[in-house]
């Protein structure tokens, strides 16, 4: 790779936004009062979006924001986990880890919901594998072969395990 460059000073716009007073140690902002002195600090938009849907709210604010999305309200088991998560602040594991768990549960719920509507999700298409096949064939074949080997291996492991009855080696240890 060659790294021969043009003189930057010949580039269009070189230095036009330079500001020698732009020392980032000092935040760039207009002079202002601090939060509690600012008479306007509680200012809210004139209208508030009606809360006609379940909205989970962080405990780090007193109210629901004046507008909100809530495009997918909490549902089912994932919804219960999410409601639990919102009992904890954003600085707490108890908030983020349950949310990640709920996301995984939600994926299964999504598949169940599809099936309930008589729709079998086309996972191959949803994962965009066609384009991987087109542009990255050898890596794709390797990946699929690995998945196949792992699947077959796992199945063999479990089925062979079923044949002999399992005998704990240290009998009595757990009693």
């Amino acid at each position: 790779m060659e790294n021969t460059l043009k003189d930057p000073q010949t580039l269009p716009g070189w230095g036009i936004d330079a500001n020698s007073e732009n020392d980032p140690t000092y935040p760039m902002r207009e002079p202002r009062l601090n939060v509690s002195q600012d008479p306007d600090n509680k200012h809210r938009p004139a209208s508030l979006q009606p809360v006609d849907i379940e909205v989970l709210k962080t405990i780090e604010r007193p109210n629901v924001s004046a507008v909100f999305g809530e495009s997918s309200p909490p549902v089912g088991l994932s919804g219960m986990i999410r409601r639990f998560a919102f009992k904890y602040s954003e600085s707490h594991y108890g908030h983020w880890l349950p949310l990640l768990l709920a996301d995984r549960v939600n994926v299964v719920e999504g598949i169940v919901e599809d099936l309930a509507h008589g729709k079998v999700p086309n996972i191959f298409a949803e994962k965009g594998y066609a384009v991987e096949w087109k542009h990255n064939r050898s890596a794709f074949v390797t990946k699929m072969a690995t998945i196949a080997v792992l699947t077959v291996g796992t199945v063999l492991l479990f089925t062979s395990g079923n044949k002999k009855s399992y005998k704990p080696k240290r009998r009595g240890y757990y009693r």
Binding site: M1, P8, P45, P50, S72, E90, V107, I123, E126
Partner: protein, 385 residues
């Protein structure tokens, strides 16, 4: 209407969904004409952002024609072709009044750290995004900006995120004329950041990535030095020290975020086990390769809380760290000027056009970096623009 639909990690599709509705007097509904897939959408796509719910529509970079407005909307009207900044911002709260539109306090109920962002999980407000035929745009008096006469919509759509985020990365780096700036990540934002460093008078710009095609693109587009951390060096930190008289760079920009490659430990703890909110390799490199007293500017997206960051080095080296979501609205007037004067050419970043119907293939192509993809644009056959 047809819309992108998230079904789970690495699984998306285009689905028929109900039309969005006006829910607040300052709402508008736009018919989307252009919409991009962004590198930060990949954090959602991979399932790394908490509270990304199945059934959600992504897309925070879009333009559209105003179809309907609420009773309090005065700044735009039906028929206007607007670009929609990725931030949902009220324009009136304590933070919006300081120009911190990325930190609005009246657009996100689910988290206090970040303002609302279109199509960016419930952690960023739970708004459906613009990878759909129609989108609800709250606070239509604040964000949406009429595309200036004569501006190519392909340029306009990149003004919703990539250009302002790259520009703000360079601005936050506090570049003084002649400074050496290192940019980690040659995705669209990294490339744009490298280009904007020159506007602040940089003397030397170095970009680092692991994909040769992106480095080649960056070298041509941003006229910067470009190096592959897997091929050209053993250790990026030592490489930069050597390249700067063993002092370190004056400023370093992290344009990577939580999907960083290059460190097995980070990949396992951050991307596979989710013990921390994504991998912080790029941030480690940034902190360790900047000079003492230097500035680290972060625009790469990291998940909330729990990152294993070398904060001791930040203290010992006396670093300034500046980081934020871009405040698109604050920067737009200047950036529109730059585009109109030919100083910045955003649309050159677009390498792929993907119909909404094939959105799953678009995500796969972008996330697996297939077909030399730099920036995919979703096109809407119905838009005719």
């Amino acid at each position: 209407m047809l819309a992108m639909d998230y079904r789970g990690p690495k699984r998306v599709r285009a689905t028929q969904k109900p039309m969005p509705e006006i829910k607040h007097p300052q709402d508008a509904i736009v018919r989307v004409t252009r919409s991009c897939i962004c590198g930060s959408d990949l954090h959602l796509y991979n399932g790394n952002v908490p509270d990304t719910r199945v059934g959600m529509t992504f897309g925070h970079e879009f333009t559209g024609i105003v179809e309907e407005v609420g009773p309090d909307v005065t700044k735009i009207k039906v028929g206007d072709h607007v670009l929609v900044p990725f931030n949902v911002a009220c324009g009136e709260c304590h933070f919006c009044k300081q120009g911190m539109f990325g930190n609005c306090h009246e657009s996100n109920t689910q988290a206090s750290a970040v303002g609302g962002i279109f199509g960016y999980s419930h952690t960023a407000g739970g708004y459906n995004g613009g990878q759909a035929e129609y989108a609800r745009v709250p606070y239509a008096n604040v964000g949406p900006t009429v595309i200036p006469e004569g501006m190519d919509p392909d340029d306009a759509v990149l003004l919703t995120d990539v250009v302002p985020t790259g520009y703000q990365a360079a601005e936050m780096a506090g570049i003084q004329p002649g400074d050496t700036v290192v940019v980690f990540g040659a995705g669209p934002v990294g490339i744009m950041a490298a280009r904007c460093c020159w506007l602040f008078g940089a003397g030397r710009v170095i970009i680092i990535d692991k994909e040769d095609y992106r480095l080649e693109f960056a070298r041509n587009y941003a006229n910067c030095e470009a190096y592959n951390f897997e091929k050209d060096m053993d250790d990026p930190v030592v490489f930069i020290k050597k390249a700067t008289d063993f002092m370190g760079a004056d400023c370093v920009i992290d344009a990577v975020g939580a999907e960083a490659a290059g460190n097995a430990m980070q990949t396992i703890t951050g991307r596979k086990l989710l013990l921390q909110a994504g991998s912080t390799t790029a941030l480690h490199w940034a902190i360790n390769s900047v000079k003492k007293g230097g500035v680290v500017s972060i625009v790469g997206v990291y998940g909330p809380t729990d990152n294993l960051v070398p904060i001791g080095n930040v203290l010992n080296k006396g670093l300034t760290i500046r980081a934020n979501q871009a405040s698109v609205k604050r920067l737009l007037p200047r950036l529109i000027e730059h585009v109109q004067n030919g100083v910045i050419n955003p649309k050159a970043l677009i390498t792929h056009r993907i119909p909404l119907e094939e959105v799953a293939d678009g995500y796969r192509m972008f996330s697996a970096k297939l077909d030399s993809c730099i920036k995919p644009l979703i096109v809407f056959p119905s838009a005719n623009i």
